[in-house]
């Protein structure tokens, strides 16, 4: 058997590793922009090959797959999906685990995803408004007293998935800091407009969503278009720095287990979340008439207004969330892939080990806002120390040069995984080996020591409990999803009704 993978991050390293452990003993081939040392090694050992090249060029991926005569292709990241790599493979009749361009729209356009959710009335919604220019957004946002209250506390996002960049949350609840926040909002919508000029594939430029609070989590699922199978819930940590401070990143580390559910969430919240993801899969298939083959994930939050709520959708595994679930997956990943291809996923009984898993990313200073600073540094990793410490190393944004040197490529450098009975135990194990990763030129690295710690878990649990009380109360009173505003001089308004009317127009 021959398998071709696409992508060169830690997520793809984890996928390659899991595929290589299959009882089918496949030869692993891989296409990546950077020569990821971990994937390279797996390819070599299996008798396959690593091919450096564009992961978003459908022709290149298609012709490579054809030339190699692979049994199927596994696409790791989202951009190949957005660029139609799976579509090209379909034309070539090469099976592919990866959302085609049409269904991947639920990730590519955050605006379209939200419209679809409202159109099909999938639970877990957020109020939103889209704009085609900063001017338009600014005019709406600058009104205060005469504007809907939700527009005062907002998340400002690029309307397109842009590598987790550009999201700002502005809570404007203190009237005495209003001028400050307002100035910041207007500067940021201007920045977003400029940033979105780089993407010509979508009309909406700026997405403004109501701001919500609560614990976040990712529910990743395999789907063949008919069946959606959920994996253990994972919580990623998006803020770049300790204490949940700082810029949004692709993810600085993630926790999961020991059960399907995170320690601070409940099984009924898991079930409800899974139902939401299933409905989104049906909705996008119904809307586009296309089959969804691959991975779909809800990046979600438990909120007071809606309970389990979609923040964003992924058309692939999360990074680092992929590492958590693949580590405990008991099934042969190739069996799962074949079942997706044959649309027989309902025959698969997904099983996971009962283990607490912590993953932490190590990034060069400069990530995520100033990637130029984070690029080009020689990397040194004491792999033996990591293994001796009971941890596992996954290579991420690293490029293995022909001369054997490994150079940082600007994003997260490596991800380190540990598992155990409890999350704090696994987290502590990673802390002990983290110094095994360094940059030979002395440039600084950072990671989050607090991920999986007792202290952070306690705060997450307190937060979840506070939200859950409010949500359950709404459930009991039948007011889930209801919002109402008072506009002085206008009267009582229902922002949900207004939004629905706007969508109908």
């Amino acid at each position: 058997m021959k398998i071709l993978g696409v992508g060169s991050g830690a997520r793809e390293h984890a996928i390659a590793k899991k595929l290589s452990e299959s009882r089918y003993n496949p030869k692993i081939y891989w296409i990546g922009e950077n020569r990821n040392p971990g994937i390279l090694r797996i390819c070599e050992r299996s008798g396959g090959e690593f091919i450096q090249g564009s992961t978003t060029d459908p022709e290149f991926v298609g012709s490579t797959a054809k030339r190699l005569g692979v049994d199927f292709v596994f696409v790791g990241p989202e951009e190949p999906n957005f660029h139609g790599v799976p579509d090209r493979l379909e034309t070539l009749k090469i099976p592919c685990i990866g959302a085609n361009r049409s269904v991947a729209l639920i990730e590519m356009s955050k605006a379209e995803m939200r419209r679809l959710q409202w159109e099909y009335d999938v639970p877990g919604k957020l109020l939103f408004q889209t704009f085609r220019s900063a001017e338009e957004a600014y005019t709406t946002l600058q009104r205060y007293s005469e504007t809907l209250t939700w527009l005062q506390n907002v998340a400002l996002k690029p309307a397109r998935q842009a590598g987790g960049k550009g999201v700002k949350v502005v809570e404007d609840r203190q009237i005495y800091l209003h001028d400050e926040k307002q100035r910041f909002k207007s500067k940021h919508v201007g920045w977003l407009e400029g940033y979105m000029r780089g993407y010509g594939d979508i009309e909406d430029k700026i997405l403004v969503e109501e701001n919500v609070w609560g614990p976040e989590y990712t529910l990743q699922c395999f789907t063949d278009g008919k069946t959606v199978l959920g994996m253990p819930m994972v919580q990623d940590n998006k803020n770049a720095h300790e204490f949940d401070i700082g810029t949004e990143t692709g993810g600085m580390g993630s926790i999961s287990g020991p059960d399907m559910c995170l320690p601070f969430l409940t099984m009924s919240e898991y079930d409800e979340s899974l139902r939401i993801v299933e409905k989104m899969v049906s909705a996008i298939q119904d809307k586009t008439g296309k089959r969804y083959h691959g991975v779909v994930a809800g990046q979600m939050m438990l909120t007071e207004i809606e309970g389990p709520t979609i923040i964003e959708m992924y058309s692939r595994l999360g990074d680092p969330e992929a590492l958590n679930v693949l580590h405990t997956l008991k099934n042969d990943l190739v069996d799962v892939c074949l079942a997706i291809i044959d649309e027989k996923l309902s025959s698969i009984n997904l099983e996971f080990e009962k283990k607490a898993v912590v993953v932490k990313a190590v990034a060069p200073k400069g990530y995520p806002d100033n990637r130029r600073l984070a690029t080009g540094h020689p990397v040194e990793v004491d792999e033996a120390k990591i293994v001796e410490g009971g941890c596992e190393l996954f290579w991420a944004s690293c490029d293995l040069k022909e001369d054997g040197r490994i150079i940082s490529a600007g994003s997260r450098l490596v991800e380190i995984l540990a598992s155990g009975e409890t999350l704090p135990e696994a987290s502590a194990r990673i802390e002990k080996v983290i110094s095994a990763v360094r940059l030979a030129d002395g440039w600084g690295l950072f990671h989050r020591s607090d991920i999986g710690s007792e202290e952070l878990l306690k705060r997450r649990a307190e937060l979840a409990e506070r939200v859950r009380r409010l949500y359950l109360y709404r459930l009991e009173k039948g007011t889930v999803g209801k919002r109402v505003d008072w506009l002085p001089g206008v009267g009582k308004v229902d922002p949900v009704k207004m939004l629905r009317e706007g969508l109908r127009r």
Partner: protein
């Protein structure tokens, strides 16, 4: 016992933030810790230079006075202090830095002088070591216990540290994907709309730089010396200190008082503001109605923080005009937070009597203050401390009360809910934690 705060933005557009607005509201929230001197330092958005402003006044007046200057900056630290001329400490070389400090490090001299020496040492270490985290860790391992600080360097680093035993608090909060805020108390984080996301641990150093936050914890014993007086008086009731809600401690103090020093009466009255939660829970526990006993005149001041006896008395009298209808003809249980010299309390009891109170039983929500504080909280010379010199009965006689009782030391420990070896009870016991225990 000043209040200190640091404001640090990250990411795209970080220069757009105006730190001084956030410091204004945050420091206003911390003003219960001192308002004789206000001081802020800002890094200018364009020149990247640090400017420092200090005035001997409270926050509101301070901002009026400096608003003539072009006060802007995107990174900033600030301090409010109960003593005049106690502003941020500045060091010019080898590395220019400005430092806000709470407590007192064990260097020679008064508080300000001791912090100056600490700041100079930090500057030297920063020049010697390549990594500011190494410099901070070295400083904390050399230094004594009893302080926390936030320093801002010319290299846009914000360095935050607590001593090995964690005597003085330092809490951390976040705003969205942008701001990190460090503050003496979590209430200041609430006021500026930040989420309280943790605390700097005893012996921990945290370095903010434009591209990262890094921290290093001290791997010492489980010995802590959290200042017990924070829970009794210093901190705001809406703050969390060392992960413990101050309000809950104050409620438990009222309960413990009702258990161990029970007094009967027709009405329970709390001395505003600090003793109000004590009085509420004492009332609840004893099933004696609680009433508002006093009305305030003028803006809120913390009378114990006034520098002279005359000012303190003026402060108390303005603050504590008794409401006659609440006490006339009643046996009153009067609850206060602490007693230092007893003069102000004597005045209060006298006023209650003149408004018609029959019996007055005084209960104090903290043990007798018998000794100084080596960590910077201002306590008068020991020969002025009434609780050191006299028994409870003698004090009752002097202040003109029918009975007088302190909370016991064990009662305070029980109310805080931490084992004794995690607290500093020095002002009540005369025994102080030392660095060797860490």
């Amino acid at each position: 016992m000043p209040g200190i705060m640091g404001f640090y933005p990250f990411g795209e557009g970080r220069e757009n933030w105006d730190a001084s607005r956030f410091l204004y509201y945050g420091l206003t929230a911390l003003q219960g810790r001192g308002e004789a001197c206000t001081s802020i330092a800002l890094i200018d958005n364009e020149s990247k230079q640090i400017s420092v402003y200090t005035k001997n006044t409270h926050v509101e007046e301070f901002y009026k006075l400096i608003s003539g200057n072009k006060v802007r900056g995107y990174i900033g630290i600030g301090q409010v202090s109960p003593s005049e001329d106690d502003g941020l400490v500045e060091v010019e070389a080898p590395i220019r830095l400005v430092l806000a400090g709470d407590g007192k490090p064990g260097y020679e001299g008064e508080r300000g002088e001791a912090f100056r020496r600490l700041a100079e040492r930090l500057s030297t270490l920063l020049a010697e070591k390549k990594d500011p985290l190494d410099a901070a860790t070295q400083l904390i391992s050399e230094a004594s216990v009893g302080f926390s600080f936030i320093a801002l360097t010319e290299n846009e680093e914000m360095i935050c540290c607590r001593d090995h035993l964690g005597v003085k608090p330092l809490e951390v909060g976040a705003v969205g994907f942008d701001l990190g805020i460090v503050s003496s108390e979590s209430s200041a984080l609430d006021v500026v709309g930040a989420t309280h996301s943790g605390q700097i641990q005893a012996g921990e150093c945290v370095v903010f730089d434009p591209l990262s936050i890094r921290r290093r914890k001290h791997n010492g014993s489980s010995r802590r010396a959290y200042c017990a007086f924070e829970y009794v008086y210093l901190a705001r009731a809406d703050s969390y200190i060392n992960d413990i809600p101050v309000y809950t401690v104050r409620e438990r103090i009222g309960e413990v008082l009702a258990e161990e020093k029970s007094a009967e009466g027709d009405v329970v009255i709390g001395v505003p503001e600090t003793a109000l939660p004590f009085a509420l829970s004492y009332s609840y526990k004893k099933s004696i109605p609680v009433k508002l006993g006093f009305m305030r005149t003028g803006r809120h001041v913390r009378s114990a923080l006034k520098p002279t006896q005359l000012e303190r008395l003026i402060g108390v009298q303005l603050k504590l005009n008794p409401i006659r209808a609440a006490v006339d003809g009643k046996d009153v249980v009067l609850i206060d937070d602490s007693v230092v010299r007893g003069n102000t309390l004597k005045n209060t009891v006298l006023n209650l009597r003149r408004r018609g109170a029959k019996r007055v039983h005084v209960r104090v929500g903290s043990p007798a203050i018998i000794s100084h504080c080596p960590f910077g909280t201002e306590v008068p010379p020991v020969d002025e401390l009434i609780g050191r010199a006299l028994s409870e009965d003698e004090i009752a006689g002097i202040i003109g009360a029918d009975s007088f009782s302190y909370l016991s030391i064990d009662g305070l420990v029980r109310a805080i809910g931490l084992p004794k070896h995690m607290l500093c009870l020095g002002c009540f016991t005369g025994e102080y934690p030392s660095k060797e225990e860490a």
